[in-house]
């Protein structure tokens, strides 16, 4: 019974992975990858690790994959075309090398003698939230804190990379009629021939930068 379930989820995982690699439309690849994640979460539950399964669903499928799908949709990524000409041999070569890699791993697995392991049972206490939480906050506190700093770095990095316009604050609210000015008005070190555009907050700031003294009602901002 459990072996049947394992075969089902394993077949689903491998099938979705193959679909992901074979698809040329990146959105279909993303959906296949979501299928892989779901089947892996089911496998984690079979291994009596329910907390990790739930965290996998929340983090990978709820956060990372929507981000990837957003990027695919916003950048309007096109369907991949086949390689032409001299590089056509790369795909079969990659498949052959993948088989070689798998053969090596299978050899290692097969040449290990069967050692005595207790099979995973549903009454195992290892995957329970309580034990993970205890270990995370007592024995493995340092990796936990370092990971939180890593996440902070990732947030700052992602915000910096996604920002446009250089020196303007990311709190800028876009209102209709935002002005576009040449970059040299904001950043004096850039030459006048640099025609990259800068978006400013409001007509106020644009007016200020252009040298006009305009008094607008401040209540309009809120």
């Amino acid at each position: 019974m459990l072996a049947l379930l394992f075969l089902l989820f394993a077949a689903l995982a491998v099938g979705c992975a193959l679909a992901m690699v074979a698809q040329r439309n990146p959105l279909y690849s993303a959906i296949s990858l979501i299928g892989v994640f779901v089947s892996l979460a089911c496998l984690y539950i079979m291994l009596a690790a329910p907390f990790i399964a739930a965290v996998q669903v929340i983090v990978y499928e709820g956060a990372i994959m929507p981000g990837v799908v957003f990027v695919i949709m916003l950048l309007n990524v096109e369907v991949e075309e086949r390689r032409t000409g001299r590089l056509k041999f790369l795909v079969p070569a990659a498949v052959v090398l993948a088989f070689v890699l798998f053969a090596e791993v299978a050899f290692i697995l097969a040449s290990m003698q069967e050692f005595y392991v207790t099979p995973a049972s549903a009454s195992a206490n290892v995957g329970v939230t309580h034990s993970i939480g205890t270990a995370l906050f007592t024995q493995y506190l340092l990796p936990f804190e370092i990971t939180s700093i890593l996440l902070l770095m990732a947030i700052v990095g992602a915000m910096t990379l996604a920002r446009r316009g250089g020196l303007l604050s990311p709190n800028a609210r876009v209102i209709p009629g935002a002005q576009q000015l040449p970059l040299s008005i904001v950043d004096a070190s850039v030459g006048i021939e640099d025609t990259r555009a800068v978006e400013t907050d409001t007509t106020d700031e644009a007016a200020r930068l252009l040298g006009y003294e305009r008094l607008r009602d401040e209540s309009e901002r809120e």
């Binding site: 959105l27 279909y28 959906i31 979501i34 329910p50 907390f51 739930a54 965290v55 669903v57 929340i58 499928e61 709820g62 956060a63 994959m65 929507p66 799908v69 957003f70 949709m73 916003l74 329970v128 939230t129 609210r173 876009v174």
Partner: protein, 350 residues
Amino acid sequence: MDTALDIGLKLVAITVAFVVVLLIVAYTVLAERRVLGFIQGRLGPNRVGYGGVLQPFADLLKFILKEDIVPDKSTRFIYFLAPVIATMAALMTMIVYPFGPEIRIPFTGITIPLTITRLDIGLLYVLGVTSVGVYGIMLAGWSSNNKYSLMGGLRSSAQMISYELALGLSLIGVIMLAGTLDLGQIVEMQSGWHGTRWFIIFQPLGFIVYLTAAIAETNRVPFDLPEAETELVAGFHTEYSAMKFALFFLAEYINMFTVSMLATTLFLGGWNVPFAEDIFGRGTFLFGLVSAIGFLLKVVFFLFLYIWLRGTLPRFRFDQLMSFGWRILLPLALLSIFITATLIFLFPNL
């Protein structure tokens, strides 16, 4: 053969829960139209059946018989997949809620628990499955090949992802108080002392943050800009007609129902009716019945609150919505966690 009987019972329980949920959701739609009518000074639909009671079935018939239009240039597979994902994610959360205590059927002596299943990680499961519901909206917006749908889909999914954070964080206070993620356990911890141990008393800030985030998660007024008819035609479900639109509609109302049930379970004590224990005694059939009815009444109260808000409040603009979620709600949720943790540390005898 024990497992076959168990599986059979679970299937029966799932079917019953499914039917009950669909009926409640259908009548929520009707209730919304009538209550909105009363708020706005008009009658709602009251022709079909006595006082409009058969209206949901008329609506269902209309949806089934309508022409199913598929836009020509849409990606067909994803177009058909999107409402399925939305509805599936909405329905899958049903299985962990405790609808009542263990009920003993009077003449047979069988005790059945009024939950479909008890998961150790019940709350995490609910949060995970509602995260998957975002895909339905994103893929619907994309696959319709329509500017308005794409904008509506992207805005709606950005809103849902942003408010999921505040939602999850506001529940951490409850988890800290209860010490467990199991929903049945959380309800049982709120029994006793006749309603004074309900978590809403210990977590008022968490409750308000949760309710606001939940209203934003389900794309309801005042956070319903992505699907308002005056804004983006109809948002992400512009190009959907007939049964597929009915699935989206259904998914939204089931989400409302789910969120109301979660609020009832976590903050209002689930199936605990204040003096039912003294009157009926635990474990009897009447106690179970009264508790289940009490649960239902609390959920209906939250649904009424949703409808009331829809009739009363104007809607947020999208940038106001996003800045509210990130700049006000998320710090409030963190503040609630901080206060709860401090109080638990100082007074550990609760």
